[in-house]
């Protein structure tokens, strides 16, 4: 007897908890933001600061066509199912004009599919998977960050110049690692047919047993190594690699390692001379970036990570889209976004009409040690536009709307 009674009661409690959802007040435009705050605080804390700064700036400049911009932020705990719940709450209860955010690729895809089904505009901030704009792309979803393919293409450009012929790969065993390696191999082999791939290691994400992995790669005796691990795995890999001399006299090309999120924890163990993508905030001398950097440091008394840029630009882009559309109707938002150009701390970016990918680029450079800390040197900004396949290829990759 108690069960069903309590089923009702429990639901009633749940309802009162959630029904206090504010009705969309006039004079306000709400954006729903979802990210893995509790699972990945190292990335999402700077990210949150970034978008908070953007909200402040947008409202200080008069909001969106006179309306105040409000961001309602939810945690997804790193689970796609919870992200869908959060998306539902934001859309159904908070009446947000659009969804933004997400970090992990599978969560980005889950929310993008939700957006497609519910006909809600979604601006994916961080997920790198190529699927989100190509094989599983849909008309409601746009993506800010340079994709896996773009970052691979940027790295391949440098890697192909290396004399090395024998290559080994180390990548986390999940979609991100797999597709990073696949794209890198494909593009690399096109440019350098003489290359042989002598070993590949696939440690589980977050659980690398670095000693045996380093030893196994060393045994294959490659001339160069592609690394895709990041975070704590990268720290373990680098420490074991340094101790065992894996990186000595070998070129290393590494995804994302130049981002402060991943480079800073390496401290004095930072390996030198790795070719990486990243964000050398200390080295970027453009007016756009200076303005951002000053505002960020003034507000938070901390230096920005790449996550700060992503969070900042996500909300800036959302504000620009809402302002141009002058409506919260998803179809008008899509029309406004396709082909929309806007400034960013990295220079002007455009949301492409063809695949809804932004042309935000990344910095490519080499790692170095400076005062016991890891830095990126000789960094060059690579525009996203230059590292995307031709329109004809993209059309083949992306399903028709």
């Amino acid at each position: 007897m108690r069960r069903s009674y309590l089923l009702g009661a429990g639901l009633a409690i749940a309802v009162t908890g959630m029904a206090n959802a504010a009705m969309a007040q006039s004079g306000e435009i709400k954006i729903g933001e979802i990210n893995s705050y509790s699972l990945l605080p190292a990335f999402t804390e700077p990210y949150r600061k970034g978008w908070q700064l953007a909200v402040e700036e947008v409202n200080a400049a008069g909001g969106i066509n006179g309306k105040k911009l409000v961001v309602v932020s939810k945690d997804d705990g790193g689970k796609p199912a919870d992200a869908t719940t959060a998306a539902n709450e934001l859309v159904s209860s908070e009446n947000v004009a659009m969804l933004t955010g997400t970090f992990l690729s599978n969560i980005g895809l889950a929310v993008s599919d939700f957006a497609n089904q519910k006909k809600v505009f979604f601006l994916a901030a961080e997920p790198l998977t190529d699927a989100i704009t190509w094989s599983k792309g849909n008309r409601y979803t746009f993506r800010l960050r340079p994709s896996n393919y773009m970052q691979a293409a940027m790295l391949v450009e440098e890697a192909a110049k290396l004399p090395a012929k024998r290559w080994a790969t180390i990548a986390p065993n999940y979609e991100y690692g797999q597709s990073a390696v696949a794209v890198f191999k494909k593009l690399m082999s096109e440019k350098r047919p003489d290359i042989v791939w002598v070993d590949e290691q696939w440690p589980p994400q977050g659980k690398i047993d670095a000693g045996p992995v380093v030893q196994a790669v060393a045994a294959a005796n490659p001339e160069a190594i592609l690394n895709v691990t990041f975070g704590a795995d990268l720290v373990k890999l680098v420490r074991e690699g340094n101790t065992r001399g894996l990186f000595k006299n070998r070129s290393v090309v590494s995804f994302l390692t130049g981002e402060p999120e991943y480079l800073d924890p390496l401290k004095d163990e930072t390996p030198e001379g790795w070719i990486v993508t990243g964000y050398p905030w200390y080295d970027i001398k453009t007016p756009d970036h200076d303005k951002f950097l000053k505002a960020y440091q003034a507000k938070f008394n901390d230096y920005p990570r790449l996550g700060s840029i992503v969070g900042y630009q996500t909300i800036k882009a959302a504000a620009a889209i809402l302002a141009k559309a002058n409506s919260t109707d998803p179809e008008k938002l899509i029309a406004a976004t396709e082909g929309l150009s806007m400034p960013s701390p990295f220079g002007e970016i455009t949301f492409r009409k063809i695949d809804h990918q932004s042309t935000l680029g990344a910095y490519v450079g080499k790692t170095a040690l400076k005062d016991g800390k890891g830095v990126m040197v000789n960094s060059v900004y690579r525009k996203g536009t230059d590292y995307l396949p031709s329109d004809a290829e993209v059309e083949k990759l992306r399903p028709k709307d």
């Binding site: 009674y5 009702g8 639901l11 959630m18 159904s92 975070g231 373990k236 074991e240």
Partner: protein, 648 residues
């Protein structure tokens, strides 16, 4: 260099013998931390029978505290002193936890302590971020062990040699402690028969506390010793806890030598396995455990569990079907729940659907765990199989929703039939761990078989058809299925089959003596539970519109366990209440705060202390105390208590 393919290259460049030796040593070094943590867990389990889920949290705390201490105090003394002091500090935390929390619940149903330690783990994960910040921390290298030694052209880190040395030292120390001291004798005696030790007048309280302290010390030491090779971060606990459980089980519960051998076995298999199958790490430990448990049901060095004696001082209310009045009340409750769409918004209805789905899921586990006495740690496998079944049918075969919903869960049935056959050959924690191993194997298949399952990018676009697409229709659908599933499971509980199942749970020997085919009954129950879980999963796929491997994952299995325990493992309707409370609270907290783990963990711990028999269990006790005199219940209680042990 004229190699053209991978294979040729590998063949022509066979590594020298020294490489294999160094790889072996590297495996030994990896085994060291596993062994330290596993030995602690094994000791604690052996004596107190607590499945200490928080063991990973203590490991992580050890690493964090050691990081702080070694950063503050430099030099060799500062470093090594910091490591030891960190382990001691965390051991003190362990003592406090044991005295304040666990002592209160030793007499609760078995596995209830798992709930308490699960709550603690959730809290610690958020607390370390609050205290030490979100960034990954890089600890110092050990003074004197910074470099590597050259061995025929291969580098062996000196710290690895240190780690290789430390595990035999700890093993020897523990052996001396257990064989040569009075305390050790008591611990061994308690591991064999703790009731007898208590009857002989040994102060069990302090014995348990000291054992817990030692176990936590070892875990924290294992964590502290990792700082020269690892980064310290807030997910360290989950990274190690499952592996450590596996190691303990492979070695045999309560066996320190077993833990050592298993740690070495697992680490070496991994070190050499990745040379042939670079993707093996993700599943290796579970494969090894599944094989070991099928061949040796009590692990490599374990002994068959002695028939459990019932815990004294427990009164359990015998189960009975609902009375007519209660049936009406249940119907009324259902009617109220069905009226939710009249006044609630879309979001609340979607949450309601999710809660209803988890009611089905928790009820199916409850059927296996409370009625059958078989606690599964991998029940999500059948939930996820149901979800994938629907996704395959709907997306690939393009079948209509009704057909997919009805046929999809059959994948859960098939999975349960195959894995259940092996799993029911075991009992207790070994059963639990084998189900976990199977679940992880299914998970890794879903994760790895990208062409079919989409890997961790999942299968998208599994949305309901028009008739069920509205939040209200889908809510009614979920509620209806939940009501039917719970009703059917209840009918089975009070059917002859249900009585037979409860007989095997209460005493396998006696039930077989009266002609019940115990294994067959348990297997059938396993298949029923798996199929019902599959139905929950298939609804879940349509609710979310997509299926990902984490619907087969450990955390979902743990969630189900928590729901059943929270509601009350000894009750018939506990799972329903537990699912509603846990899921509603979880969704609400995640939506309201980034510190949802801290609050939820705190809530779970509070519930454990306030309701040591689960929510429904305590409510029933109160009602019974009011209703009946003690004479009536005492005669039945002896019958009912015996199943507490078997419910493990």
């Amino acid at each position: 260099m004229d190699e053209t393919t991978d294979t040729e290259t590998r063949a022509s460049k066979r590594p020298p013998m020294a490489f294999y030796f160094v790889q072996f040593l590297t495996g030994l070094a990896s085994a060291a931390s596993l062994f330290l943590v596993a030995s602690g867990l094994s000791i604690i389990f052996g004596v107190t029978r607590i499945v200490n889920f928080a063991h990973g949290a203590f490991y992580m705390l050890g690493a964090y505290v050691a990081f702080t201490l070694t950063e503050r105090f430099s030099g060799a003394l500062g470093f090594w002193g910091g490591i030891v002091v960190a382990a001691l500090v965390v051991a003190v935390v362990g003592v406090i936890v044991e005295m304040v929390l666990l002592r209160r619940i030793y007499h609760a149903p078995e596995l209830f302590q798992l709930l308490a330690t699960f709550g603690l783990t959730l809290m610690v994960e958020d607390l370390v971020v609050l205290i030490w910040g979100p960034d990954d921390l890089l600890g110092r290298r050990a003074p004197g062990f910074k470099g590597a030694v050259d061995f025929f052209g291969q580098n062996i880190p000196t710290y690895d040699l240190f780690l290789i040395a430390i595990s035999p030292i700890v093993l020897g120390g523990l052996w001396l402690l257990f064989q040569r001291t009075r305390w050790g004798v008591l611990v061994r005696a308690a591991t064999q028969d703790r009731d007898m030790v208590a009857a002989l007048g040994v102060n069990q309280k302090w014995l348990f506390t000291s054992v817990f302290a030692l176990g936590v010390f070892l875990a924290a030491l294992g964590g502290a010793l990792q700082i020269p090779r690892d980064a310290v971060h807030h997910a360290l606990d989950l990274r190690i806890i499952v592996d450590v459980f596996v190691v303990v089980v492979i070695g045999g519960l309560g066996s320190i030598i077993g833990a050592f051998v298993a740690a070495v076995l697992v680490s070496e298999l991994n070190a050499f396995g990745i040379l042939i199958f670079p993707k093996i790490s993700i599943i290796l430990v579970f494969l090894v455990m599944a094989v070991v448990l099928i061949v040796r049901p009590w692990g490599l060095f374990g002994k068959p569990e002695a028939a459990a004696r019932r815990t004294p001082g427990l009164t359990v209310n015998p189960w009975r079907p609902l009375t007519t009045n209660e049936r009406w009340l249940a119907m009324a409750g259902l009617a109220v729940a069905a009226m939710l769409p009249l006044f609630a918004g879309n979001y609340a209805l979607t949450v309601g659907s999710e809660i209803a789905i988890f009611v089905i899921f928790a009820a199916s586990l409850h059927f296996l765990m409370s009625v059958g006495g078989l606690a599964s740690f991998g029940h999500a496998a059948y939930f996820g199989l149901g979800a994938y079944g629907v996704a395959f049918l709907a997306k690939m075969a393009g079948l209509p929703m009704i057909v997919s919903l009805l046929v999809g869960p059959l994948l859960g049935l098939v999975g349960a039939a195959i894995f259940g056959f092996f799993a029911v050959q075991l009992s207790g924690v070994y059963f639990a761990m084998l189900t976990l191993a199977f679940a992880q194997i299914v998970w890794s298949i879903a994760f790895q078989w990208v062409t079919v399952t989409g890997g961790d990018n999942g299968i998208l676009g599994v949305w309901p058809e028009k008739w069920a697409a509205g939040p209200a229709s889908f809510y009614w659908l979920s509620l209806g299925v939940a009501a039917i599933a719970v009703a059917i499971l209840r009918v089975i509980v009070f059917s002859p089959f249900g009585f037979a199942l409860r007989a095997t749970r209460d005493s396998l020997l006696r039930s077989e003596a009266i002609g019940i085919d115990g294994k067959r009954v348990q297997w059938t129950a396993f298949v029923i539970a798996g199929t019902v879980a599959g139905f929950a999963g298939s609804l879940f796929a349509y609710l979310k519109g997509s299926v990902f491997p984490d619907s087969l994952g450990i955390s979902l299995s743990v969630d189900a366990l928590v729901m059943v325990l929270l509601g009350g493992v000894e009750t018939v309707s506990g799972a329903v209440v537990g699912a509603i409370v846990f899921k509603a609270l979880n969704i609400w907290l995640v939506s309201q705060t980034d510190l949802s783990k801290l609050v939820l963990g705190g809530f779970v711990v509070l519930i454990v202390v306030a309701f040591p028999k689960g929510i429904v269990g305590v409510l029933e006790t109160i009602r019974n105390r009011r209703k009946s005199s003690s004479s009536e219940s005492s005669s039945k209680s002896s019958l009912a208590t015996s199943r507490i042990e078997t419910a493990e």
